[in-house]
């Protein structure tokens, strides 16, 4: 069986100018990065502003197993399926982080015959966006510590600095550090720490910005810490926003690449789906919608985290509304939710499969009943799935009135996604009876909003707030930061805040440990449990297998 990288390297990509031409992009907006990547200027969006947007399809999933359920693969295959059916379509996806590439997960550019290419570039530096975000993050940190060192005119309390440095690497060694050690000229000694670049607020700001001016304003509002009078100190106060925006001005242009089947793909931005909202950039989604009749996009983790934030944060801030939602499920993950052991997931187990279905059904219910969106389940076929297992999922879903389609894009590419594509087209073309609603009113109190997500989306009995969380909510409300949407930071493995509660748990409460504001991004982060913002490498890092030969051909990327 061929590996992903073998399939990708055997592909015959079209020159990116041909892809851009098929998208009717005026050459003046195109900046080539080699023959198979390009950045497209956001100025394109100013042209023909009355053009009717295409249909937006959101791909989300059930609660994942650690291996992922194939949202990106399904998104790529669905776009290829729509393309095969003659639709003008693009995918709008997230950029991978270097951390997982060298850690456990490997690449994140789809899989099998449903991939975006050039997969090696996309998985490594791509067009440098994440490096630009890291540089902007670390410039702000350097200016902050330099300000304190040079006399601290803003009266910043070094004990209350919230801004952390970042690196696009899984490096647990940097989670907790003491810096500014040494002599007086070596800075001010304090506790500090690093996050992985994708967890930086700059990444969230970058993905939510609607243009360069909005980007700069958001950067200015970023809070780096508090002064001795308990007032927030911002990047604007440090006069850092202009230089940060200068570092980000090219990165902000969406990246155009193609799938193995030459379907255009905009791959841009990739914020964490816990500490941030987990969707590709607003600019790329808007650009893809501006140029196409159908756009397939994805949101990180399961629908409880990714889709909820896509809808309650990204859609709320931009006015976007999906025309259809695809919930991806795999037989393996459903068996996992039904109690099958990890080592047994490759074996037929109809009992565990049926026991795991409530997880899927609850996600579908949320999309249809809470958000009032048309929805289809895509069973993302794995080679180990048996016919009986697939039949069981289909039959049970249909019994319960759930719309379900088998997707076989990993093995067959666009052809394997045609059935899903047809159902998505049907949902998009149906007379519009929807009245899309959010899960909560942004003007409610912080506690009310968090409670609404916990009860309506997670189906918990309610949220409990620690003393620290209550204190922070009081302070944030006093500072006027309460009228923002909520970004839940929660385990992706369960509807609850306990990763071991699989399926569709009932009778639990969610503990809110703390609440912090991401003033630049424009949301409040509600933290449940320990949220990892700097992963570590495993015992045998994937990096050990990666190599490049004398001709520059990379091997060992998954």
């Amino acid at each position: 069986m061929k590996t992903d990288i073998q399939i990708a390297q055997e592909a015959q990509p079209l020159n990116i100018l041909e892809i851009a031409k098929a998208e009717n992009i005026d050459p003046k907006y195109i900046e080539q990065y080699g023959n198979d990547k390009a950045k497209i200027s956001y100025n394109l969006l100013k042209e023909d502003p009355d053009r009717k947007n295409g249909k937006l399809i959101l791909v989300t999933a059930i609660n994942p197993t650690p291996a992922g359920e194939g949202k990106t693969t399904t998104s790529v295959g669905l776009a290829d399926g729509l393309h095969k059916l003659g639709k003008k379509v693009a995918a709008a996806l997230r950029e991978p982080s270097l951390g997982p590439v060298f850690g456990v997960k490997g690449g994140a550019a789809g899989g099998g015959y449903a991939q975006v290419i050039p997969m090696e570039d996309i998985n490594l530096h791509f067009t440098g966006d994440f490096h630009a975000i890291g540089a902007a993050n670390n410039l702000l940190a350097a200016m902050l510590d330099n300000h304190i060192y040079q006399g601290n005119a803003l009266n910043i309390d070094p004990k209350r600095i919230t801004w952390r440095r970042c690196v696009d690497m899984n490096d647990r060694q940097l989670r907790n550090v003491v810096d500014g050690m040494g002599r007086r000229v070596d800075g001010v000694t304090r506790q500090d720490g690093f996050d992985i670049t994708v967890a930086s607020e700059i990444m969230a700001v970058f993905c939510l910005a609607t243009d360069l001016t909005d980007l700069k304003e958001r950067l200015s509002r970023i809070i780096v810490g508090y002064n001795y009078d308990n007032q927030p100190v911002t990047a604007g106060d440090l006069k850092a926003a202009g230089a940060m925006a200068a570092l980000l001005k090219d990165a902000l242009k969406p990246n155009l690449v193609q799938t193995l089947e030459h379907t255009p793909a905009f791959i841009h931005g990739g914020p964490f789906a816990n500490i941030a909202h987990g969707c590709n950039s607003v600019l790329a989604t808007k650009m893809a919608l501006h140029l196409n009749d159908y756009v397939v996009t994805e949101a990180g983790f399961g629908a409880d985290l990714g889709a909820e934030k896509f809808l309650d944060i990204k859609c709320r801030m931009t006015g976007l509304v999906p025309d259809a939602v695809v919930v991806v499920a795999t037989v393996r993950a459903l068996k996992h939710h039904g109690g099958a052991a990890k080592a047994e997931l490759g074996n037929e187990n109809l009992q565990a499969l049926e026991a795991g279905l409530p997880n899927l059904l609850q996600h579908v219910g949320n999309m249809c009943d809470v958000y009032k969106l048309p929805c289809v389940v895509a069973i993302n076929r794995f080679p180990t799935d048996t016919e009986a297992e697939i039949r069981l999922v289909k039959d049970k879903c249909r019994e319960l009135g759930v719309n379900v389609v088998l997707s076989d894009v990993w093995a067959k590419g666009g052809e394997g996604g045609e059935d899903l594509a047809k159902e998505v087209i049907r949902l998009c073309e149906e007379p519009d009876k929807r009245h899309f609603t959010f899960a909560y009113d942004v003007n409610d109190s912080i506690e009310e909003k968090i409670n609404a997500i916990c009860t309506r989306i997670y189906h918990a009995d309610g949220a409990d707030f620690t003393a620290e969380a209550k204190k922070q909510i009081r302070i944030l409300t006093e500072l006027g930061f309460d009228k923002m949407p909520i970004c839940m930071a929660k385990t992706q493995y369960s509807f609850s805040d306990n990763p071991n509660l699989l399926g569709a748990p009932k009778g639990f409460r969610v503990t809110i440990r703390n609440v912090k504001v991401s003033a630049g991004a424009g949301f409040l982060v509600a933290l449940t449990g320990d949220i990892m913002t700097m992963p570590g490498l495993p015992k045998v890092p994937a990096a050990e297998k990666i190599d490049v030969d004398a001709d520059g051909v990379i091997t060992g990327l998954f």
Copy 2:
């Protein structure tokens, strides 16, 4: 008077494909980065390997003042001057670091009418090379600490780790840190620190590598620390070299841009000139020589550091030999060496000027007498220079038989560099009576090599070695690392190791504080005094003035 960025932004660049065409570069070797930057594949060098190389001109300088003496400006203007005279010529220059851009110095892409463009891009992320180098550096660090955390099979002594993390930013706060704090799962607590990316050994390796295979071999040899048996542990031992090379494979392709006058410029690599050798990449120099009749390149700091390393390290490792050397001097810097106060450098002062000349003469003497190279002095004209001052320098040089030309490229571009260009052509076309020699024999002992540099180049009475340096020399010799060239890490402001000894000091000795091996780069670093590998930001960082408008136009870059 227009600023550098205004002049650069008013330029009408040619499409980079036109520049490449004028260089006779087959399109298959070109990777465009937008319309005005391209990477050129190193495979080009395999074609027509018997082609006679062009003439190589090294631009170096007297000991600088903190403002720099205009080596890059002179290099660009000289290339433009040669271009104006109808020669097929390219510049081969270093890439700027982000640190100085946001700190004091501002941009490093030439100045006035002798600049390379797009200056904003070149000064910011350019084509991402430094980010790739930083990522490779930090991947190695993460794999090293992960190895120790996961059981330390290689028996690495955490107290003897020599590998540091890096960031391309002036950030004094990171010079000395303790990392791996927190819980057991947060790594192994140890002292650590960060360097600026340009000071990373990866940068030196990158600039000395002759192809991807050589790069990977050099990366493998990098020493990250020592085990409990006092044996070096390498990147190869950690199985990191393949993934590091994969991160660097595109960065290794030289970058092609143009000057304001459309002269081709290869801008690639930029190692520190103290801890490393301070020259642009071997691959870019070779590519420029392969394609042109004349190539103008530069070496960092003054000729005692930059040219010495260019000749004794880069030329020794590659077989390159300059056909002519240009020593840049400014009236301002000569007055500084003659004792004029910093605030008075703009005022006419013939006495200080004459008193400063020995600094220039000693550099010229080194080039002619030690290295046996044809040499010309370029007086890089500043607006504040008086006619009497320029006449004095010219007259005194001619009296002493020193070849001297006035260069006015900052104000006039290539036209202002034509006289210098003519003299350089004359030197290159003279019947070759040279017998280029190195300053020392690489097979001599470490002490002998260091002594040779100190006495022959610095004109010191000799070198003194601290007990620590003697111990390290003994260990390095035992480990077989003694037959390598020496990379001196010394202040750039003086021939001596004391920055306050200006002019051409006599009767001093140089103290060698320590010696370390850069096994990947292939040289031994001899440390004199405190060498800064992580600068700090000034009271008012240049970043505060940098901005970008709604159309993406950057202001405030110098």
